[in-house]
Symmetry: C2
Subunit: 423 residues, 2 copies
């Protein structure tokens, strides 16, 4: 590997970072990919890990393994805490310093509580595998607590579940949790009937899945209700603590609230010292570079891009397209040419709801129900290609949908000394 | 469920507890099964989770799910901390108290450091899924540390692995780890060659796998060496800390020592107030009940049973046989008959070493190498029957053995803020 070749540092091995890296496989670049985790995560199926349908390794692949044949890439495990744009170097949490010629910042988003960070311990969100395993534990433990609780009111609080936020993640979690309570856990408890669990999906706005047309949203809400979910729209959650949450003016006793209401950009963007949007994302130039820093690109959920008067959505296809675009832009720059303008190609919008229920909006095509679900499944299995676990995931899915069983109902993650009173 | 029927409390959902419970499916007993975990674990494959070949849910099944059709059983998640034999009740960590008419104590064993508990943080053992995930993290992180370490001596310390204890678990871990270093990680690192990793298997006694005949043990040692393991016998480890370990008089710099040297019985046995053997196991009567407490039985690794002058080994088949025997004994007692005497039926001894390498000793049959490995595989897949993951495990195995890839090389389990200097 020539030491004189251009050194690109990529921060983040998600869809944007990984797709850019792979698109540069034949480029005369030296690439260092830095990630906090050792794996790329197929985030669209993360809710399945949280709801015990898949195990963590089913939807993750080691970055080193994906990139082992690409000899111009070095993968480093580590957390970047600061970008020194003037000196062109990044600083890691363990004091390592890595210099760069070009930088791709693609660290994505985390969940955000919009000024209510005190809710975080009582309403965990879902962004990483660790989040998913914590959530799995919390959801399964609620039924265990209810089973041994003898006071009826206290038992009811353990069987009250709330998902805050009616976007795709909230809808997926609510639909799947209702299925678990109604079907998966049937006959397994002796003191409670899991079907008595209340699963509430709470959206402050007027409807769930607002990125879809209203008629499809209405169908999604009906499908959710058919699965056993209570959909509450137009009412914000105004308080969350260890004992429950307030919905409008009503306090609901509950120990299991899940936060799916909002995301904020990775805090690393702030260390760049460039203008950000309200959510903390970087306001990039049309070629996805940072104004005044043409050597720095931003891709994925961290980039704030407007197109035709609308924001480019924070979805996996957009992140992959940005990654590939940035690779093209870097090649153009290296050849002394101007970088092209990024254009997001919208191939459609899919959301799954639960057992055989989904909505699909592709061009003029609108589908809902079983047919939409098959469409969703086919698309997700197709995009899992390249993961060796694709086959295992399909097997798990087939077995789950025939038997209502879920493969990964295993609680672990912390030493247990009895059951703690609340968690 | 009649409230007047005999109440059996089973502590521990391992092989002994679960097999006893299932064998009482038609008995007029009310059974409460209490376990610290929500799952039964197929412990013979736990080393595969630690070495990233299988994911945790592949070898575990929820106890509630296994027992959902058996209406005379209630499963409770909880940790028993005390047995009050005089009052016939068990006390849980969260102050729950459960009374019993009969008790089956089957809480197994944990790893033990024989007076050197200060070694525990530096040399974790392998008994639970949490142990396996911690070990997986430790083994994979060692290579990550080596990759970013620039000092050659410090790097070598990260690539020095030691497995202390030459029993079946130590042999499995050493063989599989050597395979990972030599094959799985090939081409994935840029600054180190994982094949330079040294994997040492250290046994204080004269040979590994001492429960096998010496000629088979010698073959096992040759197979280990062929896989790249350095076998050290006859030399004890005399010290372990964060920087390394002492082997005889030599200090070896290492940050990755695994403890597979010994087990001690679950401390719960001590609360019974009855005679124990040196390892803390209960010296049971010939029918597996506790002397002076005919209403208490002990099964599995917690029971100290002599047969024909030799101890019954702490293996899964013995635990299952004890569980089934105790069910028979309880039925006999309920019918006013004397409980039968337990007799262990030894069907043979298998140990796997690594890729296509194992030894088998069944009656007069002695096998080693590939044939023994197939024998081992067939036996383990057969005994996984009843687990829905059997098929998934076979697929993972087939793919692992063809491609040298391992399905579960995913590091998680704690928040990462950079890479801590040593863990």
């Amino acid at each position: 590997m020539s030491t004189t070749s251009h050194h690109l540092v990529v921060i983040g091995g998600g869809f944007a970072g990984l797709w850019a890296t792979r698109a540069l496989d034949t480029a005369d670049f030296r690439i260092t990919l830095i990630d906090r985790h050792n794996h790329h995560l197929f985030q669209p199926l993360l809710y399945q890990v949280a709801t015990a349908g898949l195990s963590a390794p089913d939807i993750a692949a080691p970055l080193r393994n994906i990139l082992r044949q690409q000899r111009n890439v070095e993968v480093q495990l580590g957390e970047v805490i600061h970008i020194d744009a003037a000196r062109r170097q990044v600083v890691l949490a363990d004091d390592r310093i890595v210099g760069y010629d070009s930088l791709l910042l693609a660290t994505g988003a985390a969940h955000a509580y919009f000024g209510n960070d005190q809710w975080a311990p009582y309403a965990p969100g879902l962004k990483t595998l660790d989040d998913a395993l914590l959530l799995r534990r919390k959801l399964l433990m609620a039924f265990e607590h209810a089973e041994i609780e003898t006071d009826p009111a206290a038992r009811a609080a353990w069987l009250n579940f709330a998902i805050v936020g009616g976007g795709p993640t909230g809808v997926e979690l609510a639909g799947t949790l209702a299925e678990i309570a109604r079907h998966t856990l049937k006959n397994e408890f002796r003191n409670i009937d899991p079907r008595e669990a209340k699963v509430r999906l709470i959206e402050a706005g007027p409807r769930v899945l607002p990125s879809f047309p209203p008629d499809l949203t209405a169908k999604a809400e009906r499908q959710l209700e058919k699965l056993g979910v209570e959909v509450h729209t137009g009412t914000p959650v105004t308080h969350i603590d260890a004992d429950g949450y307030r919905l409008g003016d009503t306090f609901v006793p509950s120990h299991t609230v899940v936060w799916a209401a909002g995301v904020a950009a990775s805090p690393l963007a702030r260390t760049l010292g460039v203008p950000l949007d309200r959510a903390g994302r970087v306001l990039v130039a049309p070629d996805l570079s940072v104004p005044d820093h043409p050597e720095i690109f931003v891709g994925g959920d961290l980039a704030s891009v407007q197109q035709d008067g609308k924001p480019v959505p924070g979805v996996a296809p957009a992140a992959k397209q940005m990654g590939k675009h940035i690779a093209r832009a870097l090649r153009a720059r290296a050849a002394g040419q101007p970088a092209p303008t990024f254009r997001y190609q919208d191939y459609g919008n899919l959301a799954t709801i639960g057992r055989m229920a989904a909505i699909v909006h592709v061009g003029k095509l609108k589908l809902s129900g079983l047919l939409a679900w098959w469409f969703w499944l086919a698309a997700h299995v197709y995009f899992l290609i390249g993961f060796r676990n694709r086959f295992v995931v399909l097997v798990n899915w087939a077995m789950a949908y025939w038997s209502y069983q879920r493969a990964a109902r295993i609680i672990f993650g912390r030493p247990q000394r009895g059951i703690p009173p609340k968690e």
